[in-house]
Amino acid sequence: MLNINNLHASVDDKAILKGINLNVKPGEVHAIMGPNGSGKSTLASVIAGKEDYEVDEGEILLEGENIDELGADERAHKGVFLSFQYPVEIPGVSVTNFIKTAINETRKAKGLEDMPANEMLKMIREKAELLEIDRKFLSRSLNEGFSGGEKKRNEIFQMAMLEPKLAILDETDSGLDIDALRIVANGVNKLKSEDNAVVVITHYQRLLDYIVPDHVHVLMNGKIVKSGGAELAHELEAKGYDWIKEEVSA
């Protein structure tokens, strides 16, 4: 699904990613953990195609195709989805209109007709139910005045609507109380299948109690320094990151 080979990326000539290798197969859940400033969010943004970052070396392959040169919208058309750590507030665009536009633009890129309005409505209703989103919420301006939990639920709602092949969840657990966390995780698990993959970027282990990863990677100073199974996350939660730092420098 996703193959990242020796990825180096920088912003304003400052190197942030310094040789990332990552292989994600269909049906897998990967967690990327690491201390603040290790490059986790940069990795998510670079995969999604944020133009502020310069890829200096290496490649990102999605289903074998190099997506380096593609714009963020084209990557989305190919099935990449990023759940934002800080979803942007867009006054004047309702959640419903936004998601309609996103779906129909994606269909247009694939040479498909617009989704029929009744089908769209039905899908919106189903997915909103899955994430326990109130109907009134959908007519509000996108993310404007949303609580932290509402923003994140709205991100996963969009993911449910767009049905991506590769979903990257960037700190989706931050700002969530335990109920919201459960709703969000439950949503992600229901969307999970043998044909798609999820990369969870997180600081803490608690989200991983609900979305259980097949692989856990530790990102430090722009590199993946340790990989393991779900148990690695528990170890990090118990012991922090210092022991890995020592292990790496040793």
Binding site: G71, A72, D73, V80, F84, V88, I90, V93
Partner: protein
């Protein structure tokens, strides 16, 4: 011959063709003297500092159309809000087109200024209202001097006019360069309500200059909703002078949608002559190329407990230039005034520019007055967010620009106008997406 001299000498010919016993004969004579003294405004005048008329005044305009041009409805239907039943007052090259129009004298008068100026039954209204609030500056005086044709709307008291009234001025290019000077009078009496849609539409590449004057009187508890759709061709220019006099508890709203034309200058003046009344002026301007739009507004708060709301949004691309000059005067007696003004702008290109200037003169001490101007670019993080959801760059830009301006549409009471405006915006932004919000 310079245009000014040509106009002054044309006035003689004009006076020979109209009724010199008309009650407005003296008004016209005085107006041409004013124009002779003042001439066209220049950039030396503070109110015209950022708008030069030089380029539009250099053409050899015909002042009196010689031809009668007929238009087929099917050819111009798209310029009408044709989805709803309306009264229509339509002009082609300055001449009334009876077959495109639908006027009425049932209970209300929706007809022609030429009738109102000549028929005795309108004499009292003309005496009481004509040229009572239009200013005496050069450009308005020029219109007054030649005032002969336009829309005349009189709504007597307690009438809720069911159908909107559309006023459209077409120009066909048969005259070469053409100067049009429509003169409109709208009198809405106590407790009555009227909706008016105005549009100036050139169908030619020949230069067209329209210098329009509209006087609107919203009497006690009257409601006037006025929509101006300005989406003309790149060879057409418009100077729109609109004056609104409000009496107590009246509500007057003017929405100005400026999407085209070579040069557009809107002089919009509200005079609040009564208590507890409400004035609203809103606008969306989206222009590109070398287009120029200038909104020059005035709200004169004269009496206590009144409100005014101004909200103008502008999006400027290419080498387009914009001006917003919003003056709010609050007289000493006008206590408890609430006056709000906002002008927000987005510059898409490095060559585009906007000059925005709030001007508040407050002489009362117990008032709420706010104003805010912003000039910015599109938010790049919002762009990335939209694009990451599969919305291509052009569509994402369009969606953000629409979102930026669409709160102006909240107060538009005719859904078909809202739909039309969103369609024009989509086509201006070069996208085919529904902004059905």
């Amino acid at each position: 011959m310079e245009l000014k001299d040509k106009l002054i000498s044309s006035f003689m010919a004009f006076e020979n063709n109209v009724d010199v016993d008309s009650p407005i004969h003296d008004i016209r004579t005085e107006a041409i003297k004013n124009f002779e003294d003042e001439g066209f405004p220049t950039k030396r005048q503070e109110a015209w500092k950022y708008t030069s008329l030089d380029a539009v005044l250099k053409h050899d305009y015909s002042v009196f159309p010689k031809h009668e041009s007929a238009l087929e409805y099917k050819d111009v239907k798209k310029y009408f809000i044709h989805e709803i039943d309306c009264y229509k007052i339509i002009f082609v090259d300055g001449k009334y087109s009876s077959h495109l129009s639908q006027t009425t004298h049932d209970d209300i008068d929706v007809c022609l200024m030429s009738s109102a100026l000549s028929k005795p039954k309108y004499r009292l209204i003309i005496e009481n209202y004509f040229n009572k609030i239009a200013t005496k500056d050069g450009i308005s005086s020029l219109n007054t001097a030649f005032s002969a044709e336009g829309a005349y709307i009189h709504i007597p008291k307690n009438k809720l006019v069911q159908k909107p009234i559309q006023i459209i001025h077409f120009s066909t290019g048969r005259e070469g360069a053409l100067l049009l000077q429509p003169r409109n009078l709208v009198v809405v009496d106590e407790n009555s309500h009227v909706q008016i849609i105005e549009r100036h539409q050139s169908l030619t590449d020949n230069p067209i200059l329209t210098n329009s004057v509209t006087e609107i009187f919203a009497n006690k508890r009257a409601i006037v909703d006025y929509y101006k759709i300005q989406n003309d061709t790149s060879s057409a220019s418009l100077i729109d002078n609109t004056f609104i006099n409000q009496k107590q508890e009246s509500i007057a709203k003017v929405h100005t949608f400026s999407f085209g034309g070579k040069l557009t200058r809107n002089n919009l003046n509200f005079y609040q002559n009564g208590e507890r009344l409400d004035s609203t002026m809103k606008g969306i301007t989206i222009i590109g190329d070398k287009q120029h739009v200038d909104h020059n507004t005035l709200v004169h708060h004269i009496e206590p407990n009144c409100e005014s709301h101004q909200d103008y949004k502008g999006i400027y691309n290419d080498s387009a230039t914009g001006v917003f000059n919003g003056k709010v005067v609050v007289e000493k007696e006008a206590q408890k005034t609430n006056a709000f003004q906002a002008n927000n702008n987005i510059l898409i290109s490095d060559k585009a520019s906007i000059n925005t200037k709030p001007q508040l003169e407050i002489f009362a001490d117990d008032v709420k007055c706010s104003h805010g101007c912003t000039i910015g670019q599109l938010d790049e993080s919002a762009m990335f967010y939209l694009r990451s959801r599969g919305i291509p760059e052009k569509e994402a830009r369009a969606l953000l620009m629409f979102a930026f301006s669409n709160n102006v549409l909240d107060s538009v009471k005719i859904p078909e106008i809202k739909t039309r405006i969103t369609k024009i915006i989509a086509s201006k932004l070069g996208v085919n997406i529904g902004f059905d919000l």
